[in-house]
Each structure stands twice: as C-alpha cells, then as structure tokens.
C-alpha cells in the first residue's frame, strides 16, 4: 500500500480552480428565466432535460475530491431546505474565483478567510431590514378564492434590475385604450384605519434613521418589524426626507395574503406555484375538517404532499387533489368500477408483500431442511393463506410500502381486491392516522384492530386520459375523510421535461414552506444582493479611513493577521463583492434583457451607483421597486394586481446557501495538500505521479 500526497501550489490553487470550473456549468440555471440542459447518457441513449443543479451534478463524473465536496455541500443544502442549490453553486464558483484573485495579490490565506467570513456576516446583518414579515394567519386569510387568470401570461418580473421591454408597456397601453375604461386604477383599497393601528410600535424609528443614515440602518430595533414601503410619492431630497419617508414606512404593510406570497415566490414559474398554493389551501381545509374547533394555528406539512407524474399528457391536466393519486395497471379498471362509491376497509403493509420477505435485521435461521421429499409449492400456499386472512377481515384495499408478489397481485385481482404499492411512508402514515389502521409488517399480524375503514377509491379522470399516453396504466384517487395528504398531478406533453417539472414543483413547494416556517420573506428580485453590494462598498470606503479595530468577531485575535487585516480588507471585500456582482449580472443576463454579460454587468454597476449615491440604499431600493410596479400598473393592468406584483425571496435557505457556499470555498482555500490513501502504486497514472510525493 502506498500513500501519495499532492501539494497544492499556493498561487494557482488547483482546488479553487477546479471548484470554479465545476460550477461554471450551472451558470444558466440562475434566475427566473432558466435555460435547460440536455443530459445524454452515451451508453443508454437516454436523455433528460434539466435545469436543476442537483440533477446535473448527479450526472457529472465527479471523481475529484473537490467535486465530491461540492456535491456533498449541494446535497446537504437540498436535504435541509430543498431550495437554494443554484445560488449555492453559483456563489461557490464566484467566490472561489474571488479567493483566487486575492491569492494572486499575495494576500495571506488567514486574512482572506477572516475578512471574507466577517464580510458575509456583516452583510447578513445588513439585509435584515429588507425582511417582510408574514402575518401568522396568512393561510387563514384565503377565504377569498380569487384567481388571476392573466398570471400565466404575465412574464415580467417586477424588479428594477430587470428592464421591462418598452414595447410590452406600449402594447399593454394600447390594449387598455382599446378596452373600456371600466378598470380605473384605484390605489387605496385598504382602509386607512389599518395603517394607523399598526404604526404604534415603530415610534422610535425616525430617530434611528436620522442618527445613522448610512450604516446598520435599522438592524437592532427594527429587525422583524420592517415593512415594505408604498412610497410612490416619496421625494428624494436630502436628510429631511427621511422623516417623511419613515412615515411612509409605517404605512407599509405586512404580507398577509397567501396568493400574494405565492406569486412573489414563484420567480416566474406561476404554473408550479399555483399548484403549490392550491395544495396548501387544500391541506388547510382538510385540517379544519379533521380537527374541528381546533385553535392551533395551521402549519403547512410538506411531508403530506405527494406527486403523481403523468408524462405525455397536456399541461392543462395539472391539478391538485386531496387524497392519494397514483397510477395502476389498466387491468384493475373493472375492479375499481365495482369498488367505487362504497366505503372500503383497508390494511397497510409496512414492507414488501412477498412470501420470502423478512423484516430488517432478520438474519435467517441458518440451514433448515424440512423432513419431506416433495415440498409443496410454498408460494401458492402463502398466497392462499394471505387471501384467506384478507377475505376474513373483509378488506378490499391493501396499501403496501414495498414491492408486491406478482402471484398475489393476480390472485387478488380475481377476488376483487386492490393492492397498491409501492407507497411512501408518509402516505401510509397519513392513512393510518385518519382511518385507524395499524401498519403491520406481515399479513399474519393482521387482526380486526389493524383494519382501517371508510376509504374511497375512484378512477381519476377516466376516459379523459388516453391510456396509451401513460403506458397502459390508469390513475386512481384514494380518499378518506380528513386525510391531510394532497397529491399534485404533474403533467407534461414532453416526456423529457417530466423530471424537471417535478423538480420545479418541489422547489416552489419548499420555497413557500420555508417562507411560512420563517414567517418572513425578503424583498426579492436582486434587492438583497444589491444591498449587500452597496454595504460592502461602504465598508471598503470606510476601511480606507482609519477605523478602530474590532476583533470581537474574529477567531485569531493574537496573531499579526488580526492587525494586518486593515491593509488587505478593501481588496478582499472587493473580491467578495465581485462574487455577488457576477451573480446579479448572470441573473440579469439570463432574463434576456441584456445582450451580453458585460452589458448586464454595466447595468448593475450603474444601478448600484445610484443606490449608493442616494444616501439611504434601503429606501432607494424600495422606491425603485414601487416605481417599477406603478410603471407596470400604468400600462393598464387591473389595479388589484398591485398587491401581487411583488417579488419575494426566502430568508433562511438563502442565508444558508450563502454561508455554505463561502464555507466550501474557505474549506478548499485552506487546503494545501491532497492525500491519496491506500492506492496501489500502479493505480496512479504515470503522468500524475510526477506531481505526487510518495511515502
């Protein structure tokens, strides 16, 4: 056994270079307008369309150690939050380039590590005022089931960073002129009493704003209470204006409408988000059914969401249903017709439904031989026995976690018994809770107490779906009173798009879920990143002047690194800001309003200058966002759209994605050697061995 060790050259850090080039592939996935990629398996000739970084990484050959760390990090973000992976990947790439730039300027690694993490921490604090709280009863407030049929066609993102094509506004204006003047814009649909009642606790705000108009504006006293401004008439003169603007600030509102929240978080994918939103409402109503007179506030339970993919079926069939929808063989059609419209008794099997199946941890009985020459067909005996049990219990439906024996399937079909599997654990769990069934591992455990009742089975959209499209299978709906489970039926005429479609749905679901868990969202559309950039710019300018050293946030307080940070801070912070700048440029470029990335970059630069120049970046940003919205409204959309023309970002997943991206970069940055253990001498490429040291 040989152990080899590869030294990583300091200036041209291989690890960082690898990280930067690996992440390059995910560039086009950023922002609301994504360009998909085709993944083609050379051997299998299968292809899949994707615009999720996780799918891409799964299909890439990541044999380098950095590649594996990247995959691990993205996977971990996915496991914990289900969203934010594209941001993580892009920033990891952008910041590894930034770290390389710092290395080329001969900045000590410890300084880069310390200043970058300090910079990120400071930015995370800075963006807190852009948070918008959700009202705790936001889901309850959806009694009004208004729909916005035009949302599907609305492809604009209300952000000042995305230039709305002027011809779009022209067109909308024309349309408005032609149509009747019935929809006159009326702005204050909200009663004014609501404003005054809510402004009571923010009395101290104007003072803070006057004292410190530039740094850490409302971070301490105004964290969760910050609201979005309506300040359409906000006039930007110098300091005095903060007084008036803060009054406007009081008048801003919390986000208290689920539709508004969902649209804001959809980031252009209205169709997936509409399904998610419907799923939340559906679950909400079911909770009310199950727990009557329950005062506990409703919590969206994402584990009780299931998806059913129907490839090859038109998009318009996508919908959300309460209960469990799945595909089963077309041979069951007659049985289901018979079982329809009657309450069924159900049993739940937590495992495979096979003769030779044993529970996890059962190691067998050693060599056992039965003293008989011709052993009868054991499988047949077993099937007979199972059927006897099921018939005696008068069960008509069996839901199985694992695989089901084919013989059993067939025999059950003859006796009008429906077996469904594999079904996920969460589905079984929910049916157990609502029907009173007890999950068992073996059918021999079944007794009267284990059987659940009052389950309904029906064919779903029988006759409407062409069985050919779903490869000889039919969709069925299983329901029970009070079931929390909601199934989203996802359809796509293009089979290769199916997986991407499902991924989109889950991303939207997790976004909404985390917004509801956090009870707050960010003003989206790049506002958070712009604020970070302008904050970093402020820090860079400040550090040019002599500032008192604050070592409180650092780990290395005794080393010279702490004292020499002043010297390098501007350069490192600039590199960090460069990462966000590249992020924003890519988002803007991907939306297609700029013809090149450099044009996008210049556009961001100009916008940033205006933001920083305004003296109060937060208010400027809010003003700009409102301007865009009123610009769109003036073009003739109905005025009630004003509320839904917001774009939001999730808070915790975004902050975590930033942190994880930087953590990964710093982990790789601080690595100076790669040690390959246990490799045989011959396994190492002769080309590689030159740069390897053998021990």
């Amino acid at each position: 056994m040989v152990m080899a060790c590869r030294n990583i050259n300091r200036r041209k850090h291989i690890g960082l270079q690898q990280l930067s080039s690996l992440t390059e592939t995910g560039r086009s996935f950023l922002g609301p307008v994504k360009s998909s990629k085709f993944i083609i398996g050379e051997r299998s000739h299968e292809s899949v369309l994707t615009c999720s970084i996780l799918r891409l990484l799964e299909n890439l050959d990541l044999n380098s150690s950095v590649g594996q760390l990247l995959h691990e990090t993205v996977q971990s973000q996915k496991n914990a939050y289900g969203t934010g992976t594209n941001t993580l990947l892009f920033l990891a790439g952008a910041w590894s380039t930034a770290a390389l730039e710092c290395l080329q300027q001969d900045i000590p690694i410890s300084v880069i590590v310390s200043v970058m993490s300090e910079g990120l921490k400071s930015c995370r604090k800075e963006v807190v005022p852009l948070q918008i709280s959700l009202t705790t009863d936001i889901v309850d407030n959806t009694g009004d089931t208004r729909r916005y049929p035009f949302l599907g066609t609305l492809s604009i993102i209300p952000s000042p960073l995305v230039q709305i094509p002027s011809d779009w506004i022209q067109r909308e204006k024309l349309r408005k002129d032609v149509s009747s003047q019935a929809s006159t814009p009326s702005f204050s649909s909200r009663p004014s009493s609501e404003f005054s009642s809510r402004s009571s606790y923010s009395q101290s705000v104007p003072q803070i704003m006057l004292q410190a108009p530039q740094t850490n504006l409302f971070t301490n006293s105004y964290t969760s209470k910050s609201r979005l401004s309506h300040s359409r008439h906000f006039n930007k003169s110098e300091n005095m204006s903060y007084q008036t603007s803060s009054e406007e600030y009081h008048n801003s509102h919390k986000c208290n409408d689920l539709v508004q929240l969902a649209v804001g978080l959809s980031h252009g994918d209205h169709s997936s988000m509409a399904l998610v939103e419907a799923a939340v409402k559906c679950q909400y109503q079911n909770v009310r059914v199950r727990k009557k007179n329950c005062t506990v506030p409703f919590r969206f339970d994402i584990s009780k969401i299931s998806t059913c993919c129907l490839p090859g079926i038109p998009e318009s069939f996508s919908c959300v249903y309460s209960g469990y929808i799945t595909l089963i063989s077309i041979n069951y059609t007659t049985i289901i017709r018979e079982l329809q419209n009657q309450p069924l008794r159900v049993v739940l099997i937590d495992g495979d439904f096979k003769e030779n199946y044993h529970h996890l941890g059962f190691n067998g009985l050693g060599k056992v031989k039965t003293e008989l020459e011709s052993v009868p067909d054991q499988e047949r005996q077993w099937v007979d026995y199972i059927l006897e049990i099921l018939t005696q219990l008068n069960v008509k439906l069996v839901m199985v976690r694992g695989n089901v024996s084919e013989n059993l399937m067939e025999r059950c079909m003859h006796s009008n018994l429906l077996i469904i599997g594999p079904v996920s654990h969460h589905v079984l769990q929910d049916f157990a809770e609502v029907t009173g069934a007890v999950q068992v591992t073996y059918a021999t455990q079944l007794n009267e107490d284990c059987v659940g009742s009052d389950v309904n089975v029906s064919l779903w959209r029988a006759g409407q779906l062409n069985p050919k499209d779903v490869s000889k299978r039919v969709a069925i709906l299983i329901k029970a009173e009070g079931v929390l489970l909601v199934t989203a039926v996802l359809t796509s005429p293009i089979i290769a798009q199916m997986q991407a479609k499902e991924d989109h749905f889950w991303t939207c679901a997790y976004r909404l879920y985390h917004a509801l868990v956090d009870e707050k969202v960010f003003l989206g559309g790049g506002a958070v990143e712009v604020l970070c950039l302008s904050h970093l710019q402020g820090l860079i300018e400040q550090s040019h002047k002599k500032v008192d050293l604050d070592c409180s946030g650092q780990l290395l307080t005794t080393s010279w690194v702490a004292s020499s940070q002043e010297l390098y801070r501007p350069a490192v912070l600039k590199a960090l800001a460069g990462g966000w700048h590249r992020y924003l440029s890519s988002v803007v470029y991907n939306t297609g309003t700029c013809s090149s990335e450099s044009e996008a970059s210049t556009f961001i630069q100009n916008f940033l200058q205006k933001t920083t120049g305004s003296g109060c970046p937060i208010l400027y940003l809010q003003k700009e966002y409102n301007k865009v919205i009123s610009g769109i409204l003036n073009s003739g959309l109905p005025s009630k759209l004003k509320e839904i023309l917001r774009v939001y970002d999730v808070v915790t997943p975004k902050m975590e994605a930033w942190r994880r991206a930087l953590d990964l970069v710093l982990l790789v940055l601080q690595t100076d050697a790669e040690i390959i253990t246990g490799a045989e001498y011959t396994q190492l490429n002769s080309q590689e061995t030159e740069e390897l040291l053998l021990l």
Binding site: V2, C5, S65
Partner: protein, 570 residues
C-alpha cells in the same frame, strides 16, 4: 498439489537515518503534520482516489488513522502518536511535530546517539520538573468555581481546528454546550470517589451549528415517526419501568452454527421462535414494563403485541448507547429470552418525543443521573466529523483537567518559555550532571541547543502565512508580526498580543527574533494575577501536553537508537 517456493532472504538495512529516501519521507511527513498545526493551520484532503468519501481535516487522529505509511521508522512515530491520542485526545500534532524536529535536529549533530539520548533524557527531566513545580511560569491553575478558564480551554481546542468552519459566535455556542454537558456529567451526590457520567454526541448533520443543544438524559433517533397513541401508564412512583435488551429480538437464530437443522413437515421454526418472543412479551406485560429498549431489532409482531399493551418499543439503538442506557436507567442488559430477573429492570422519569431539524427523537429523561446528550449540528459531513472530533477532545480534556486542575499557556508561549528556561538552566552545567551523563560540557550544550531549537520550531509551526516570530526577553512568550514590516517602526507598535493572549504590547518586554541563541534570565513573576484580568486566553491541557512532551522525546530517542531494520520479505 502444493507448490514449493524458495524463501526470500530477509532484508537488512542499516545506517537508517542517513538514507536519502528515509530523510525525504520524514521531511514530507513533517511538512504535512506541521502545516496542520494551530488555528490557521492548513487542511488536508484525505481520500482514496477512486471516489471514496473525502475527509478534510487538520487533526492528528484522523490524519494518522488514514495514513498508511510503509517505512518502519515512520510507523514507530505514527504509532506512538496514535497511542498518545487514544489516551489523551489532545496534543497529537504537538507530539508528532516535536518528535520530527528532535529527530532532525539530533541527526545533524555529530555526536554518538547514545550520548544524545542520555542528555536529551536529562533535559526532558529538567522540563518535567519545571512544569510540575510551583515556580513554573507557563502554567496556571484552573479554578472550577470560575468557568472562564474552562471556557478558554474548550475554545482553544475548537478554534485550533479550522475545518470545523465555526465563526466566533458558533465557537462560543459550542464551547458553552460542551461545558454545560460536562457539568451535567458531574454527579450531584458526591461520595468518596465520584464517577463522572457520560455525555453522548448525537449527530444532526445538514443543520446550522447554532441549532446544537444539550439535553439531560438520552436522545435516540426514531427511524420513522412512531405514533404514541395512548398516554403511558406510569408506576405509582411516577417513573417508567425500562427493560434493556442486548440480544436481538428479531426472531432469528443468532448463532446457528455449522450443519443443517432437520425439522419435520408442518413445523415452522419461525413461528416457534415467535411464540417464544411473545411469551417474553407476556412476562414484560406482567412485570408492568413501560418501555422496552433493544440494542438490535425487535420482531414487528412482538412490537405490535407490546404496543397493544401500551408498551413503547425502541429498537436498533446500537451498541454505543447500551452502556449509557444501563448507567442512566440502572437496568441490567438482558441477554436471554427465557428468564428475566426482576432486578434487571431500570427506571426513567419520563419519555417524550422531540423534533430536531427534520428528524424525530425519543427523549428518555432520567430521575437523577449524570448522563446527557449533546445534539451536534454542522452544515456538512466533513465539517461535522471534524467538529465531533474536536468536541470529543474537549470533553476528554475537561475530564483530565478535573483530575489535575492545571493548564499550560497555549499559542506557542509554553514552548518558547520552556526553551528559554532550558537555555538559561544549561548556561552553567554542574559537574555532577556531566558525570552522570558521561559527556563533556560542550557536548551537553550542543544537545541542549538542539533540544531548545526543536521546541522553538514547534512554536514556529503555528505560523503559516510567512509571518516573523519574536520572543520577549522578559517572559519568553511567543509573538508574531507581519512578514514585510517597515524598517523604522518599533516592535512595540507591530505586535498586538502574545500567542496565548496573556501579555499585551507593554513597553518593557524587549523583543528579539526567535532563532535566538542568547540566553537570558526570565522573570518569575506570578502570572496567576494577570490571568484573571485577561478576557481570552489560549490554553492547553496540562496532562496531555506533559505526556506528549515525554512521548516525543522518548520516541525520538528510540528512532535514533535504531541501527538495523530486518524485514521479512516473504
């Protein structure tokens, strides 16, 4: 047919340390180890090159357990460091670096190895005596009534491992938790010899570090949500009766042995075993047991039977939890299906379910027991592993410190201080010492100089960004300054604090560059008073470092003493 092959002759190598390949291997390994040292140490990516998991680390235990060195000399060194780490957890890198430095420094001396070994052992005894004496200027006593020093000790360990990826706030949080967990393991009713309880680290990966927490009792992950439908019927004494099984209750034959079992038709072995299990279940029900905990798997049918009788089952807890479970509940692990003695049951105060992150847990709450669980979170696998190691080290160090309530100054100050002390001490060597060691004064001084240089270069290994190292002539502490310092600036303006954080840039410290050959007498000012006024100190575990020093010197002597290696090449 067996093939007879001639035996290869054994291979004998001599004059080991002058061999090129060996010196090169030693210097590569020294480079690897010393570049890991300290809070700004560089990390190593360990992987097998064929797609196995990647471990990013700078800790000696994961480094040495993954390294597969072939050369016997390197093996001696890695094995003795691993032995040290398994006993003391801390100061593994220190031991390894010092040992490498000693070997390299001694090897350059043109003296017989016997002389070098003798003198270095004498020097070691001088060090040990000094560190153990009351006048020692680089150790402080740890006051257990004041948590500040303990917190510094824990923080020093955590911050010395950058792969944990903690910021200041997170490091503070974890340090507090470790200390809290440690305090929970101290039994409330102290008898003559109190036995410390246990704190168990429960993994919770993918979550934020700040979500980590400490709970009294034991937290066990539920593989899947288990519904507890009915309230548990408690005993009159307001406790729950616990049965703890260390055998598998999954219904298989644990050791079927060789050969085939022949059964007659119609007999089901499986059912026979299940009947036996259900009988066991009946006994548990009759004995009014509330909770059944099993190290391995419980048969689903038995589980169902017990659930029907309102008994909660927790299975697959794993061997590592068995000892703390026994300790906490007072239960004897049951290893038989047939007979359960009524004395083998234990008790807990309560059992509840809890959610952390997206996972579900059982929480067993003890009556009065010194067992607690530390739910440790970190964002990804590799940083979690590193954090876990650091936490285990910190827990161990706290245990060592309660036995010997002393700590050494960290951040390189102990090494430089000790070197200064030695240089001062050997300025005049008594005749009797030379006689005992059978050497001349010059020989003695050469070895002592090499010994001190080796100690000092351990301290210098803390610097990884080309900074320059200074020491002060008053206390002999370690200071670092930037590499490209302006010429006409006073050192006082360049330095900030010494390595351990005890001293600030006072005027009278009289700094000089580290590879200094001059000896000067140190002030034996009591540092205990200064300690109380400083906010943050970098501290090292006294016991571990003292032992590490001994191991390093003795291993270096052993390596020097080797003259032949005979390898069996068959």
């Amino acid at each position: 047919m067996s093939r007879v092959k001639a035996k290869k002759p054994s291979l004998c190598t001599y004059e080991l340390l002058t061999k090129d390949i060996i010196t090169k291997s030693i210097s590569v390994l020294r480079e690897i180890v010393s570049s890991c040292y300290g809070p700004s140490g560089r990390l190593k990516q360990l992987h097998n090159g064929v797609g196995g998991s990647v471990c990013t680390t700078s800790s000696s235990s994961s480094l040495f357990s993954n390294l597969s060195v072939i050369h016997p000399i390197l093996k001696i060194l890695t094995t003795s460091v691993q032995n040290h780490v398994s006993r003391f957890s801390d100061c593994g890198l220190f031991t390894a670096i010092l040992c490498f430095n000693l070997v390299e420094h001694f090897q350059r001396l043109n003296l017989s190895s016997a002389t070098v070994i003798k003198i270095s052992k004498h020097l070691l005894s001088l060090c040990i005596d000094y560190l153990n004496s009351e006048i020692c200027g680089c150790r402080i006593s740890v006051d257990f009534s004041n948590l500040k020093t303990l917190l510094c000790l824990v923080q020093s360990i955590l911050t010395s491992k950058p792969a944990c990826l903690l910021n200041k706030k997170e490091a503070d949080h974890i340090s507090t938790l470790i200390l809290k967990a440690f305090l929970l393991t101290i039994p409330e009713k102290a008898t003559d010899h109190a036995i410390l309880g246990k704190s168990i680290i429960i993994p919770l990966k993918d979550e934020r570090v700040m979500d980590s927490t400490v709970l009294p009792g034991i937290v066990i992950e539920m593989p899947e949500v288990q519904l507890i439908k009915c309230p548990i019927k408690k005993l009159p004494s307001d406790a729950l009766k616990v049965a703890l099984f260390c055998i598998s209750l999954s219904g298989d034959i644990s050791d079927p042995g060789e050969g085939t079992l022949v059964i007659s038709y119609g007999v089901s072995l499986e059912n026979a075993i299940l009947d036996q299990l259900l009988n066991l279940g009946n006994q548990l029900i009759n004995d009014h047991v509330n909770v059944v905990v099993c190290q391995k798997v419980i048969h689903p049918a038995l589980k169902q039977y017990l659930h029907q009788h309102h008994i909660i089952t927790i299975d697959r807890v794993g061997i590592s939890l068995m000892e703390p479970l026994g300790e906490m509940t007072g239960a004897q692990p049951i290893g038989s299906l047939n007979f359960i003695s009524s004395t083998s049951y234990g008790y807990v105060k309560d059992l509840c379910t809890a959610n952390f992150g997206s996972k579900h847990y059982f929480h067993l709450i003890p009556n009065d027991s010194s067992v607690c669980s530390l739910l440790l979170c970190n964002r990804n696998e590799t940083s979690w592993n590193e954090l876990k190691l650091a936490c285990q080290t910190a827990q161990h160090v706290l245990q060592l410190t309660i036995r010997e309530p002393l700590a050494l100054l960290g951040g390189g100050c102990t090494e430089t201080h000790l070197a200064c002390f030695l240089r001062n001490k050997v300025a005049s060597v008594p005749e009797c010492v030379l006689k005992v060691n059978d050497c001349t004064e010059i020989e003695y001084k050469i070895v002592a100089d090499a010994f001190c240089s080796a100690l000092q270069s351990v301290a210098c290994s803390l610097e990884h960004d080309k900074g320059k190292i200074l020491i002060d002539r008053k206390y002999g502490h370690f200071w670092s300054i930037q590499p490209d310092f302006p010429a006409n600036v006073k050192w006082q303006d360049l330095v900030l604090k010494c390595g351990c954080g005890l001293l600030g840039n006072q005027e009278d410290l009289n700094w000089c560059f580290l590879p200094s050959i001059h000896s000067f007498s140190l002030q034996n000012a009591s540092i205990q008073q200064v300690t109380n006024s400083t906010d943050h100190l970098t501290l090292d575990c006294f016991t571990a470092k003292l032992h590490g020093l001994q191991v390093a010197v003795e291993t270096a002597s052993l390596i020097l003493d080797l003259s032949y290696i005979i390898e069996d090449k068959n």
